[in-house]
């Protein structure tokens, strides 16, 4: 049985790393769902504060969403830019 080349090994490990990094995108989605559920509860309890609640939630969720994109950026860099290939 032939051994694998260093390039193939690095490419394979990069793909595994990209997959692991993309998992980071799951967390913010679940968090956003919880936040929206609690906001709906708040609006139901105090309908006059709807504008304030939605405004705060939009700003909070815009910031929370970017934490998932960090993982996506790492995955894209590992897959397309292949920075580890330069180490060979």
């Amino acid at each position: 049985m032939e051994g694998i080349t260093s390039e193939a090994f690095i490419l394979g490990c990069s793909a595994i790393g990209a997959g692991l990094a993309a998992i980071a995108g799951i967390g913010p989605g679940i968090g956003q769902g919880y936040a929206a559920g609690k906001a709906a509860e708040g609006v139901g309890r105090q309908p006059e504060a709807q504008g304030d609640i939605i405004r705060t939630m939009i700003l909070g969720q815009a910031v929370a969403e970017t934490t998932g994109i960090y993982g996506l950026v790492i995955a894209i860099i590992l897959l397309f830019v292949r920075p580890l290939m330069g180490a060979l």
Partner: protein, 136 residues
């Protein structure tokens, strides 16, 4: 304009101004800034459109029954996540778009929202300084 619409307008306006400022800096300091500018415009536009999509999703979700909110929000979040993935993939593959500035453009709304707090603190402290000078 409503409170939510006003906030959206304020954030969008600041993002556009900040992006134009960065484009100006790119034109000043880089000999051939076209790829960087393309990337920044591409990332910023997608980020603003996703911000708008998110606010529409949230406005709709608040009026939904409790059991349907979480799946709806998560589905919409993954739709936006896939859009970001496609955008970053295109920026990585295409040689006429810079990946670095596309990433900067994608984070533009976050930068503006976080810097808004510091901007307000600086504005408030400068107003207080003016008031204390007038008081003397």
């Amino acid at each position: 304009m409503s409170l939510v619409g006003n906030t959206q307008y304020k954030v969008t306006k600041r993002v556009v101004i900040f992006a134009l400022l960065i484009i100006g800096i790119l034109f000043l300091f880089f000999p051939n800034p076209k790829t960087y500018v393309n990337g920044l415009i591409f990332g910023t536009i997608i980020n603003l459109l996703n911000f708008r999509l998110m606010s529409l999703t949230i406005k709709k979700s608040v009026k939904m029954p409790q059991s349907k909110i979480m799946p709806y929000i998560i589905a919409n979040y993954f739709a936006r996540y896939i859009i970001y993935g496609i955008v970053l993939g295109i920026a990585a593959v295409a040689d006429y778009i810079s990946l670095t500035t596309t990433i900067l453009g994608v984070f533009m709304v976050k930068i503006i929202i976080l810097s808004d707090t510091f901007y307000d603190i600086i504005l408030r402290s400068s107003k207080n300084r003016k008031k204390s000078k007038e008081g003397r």
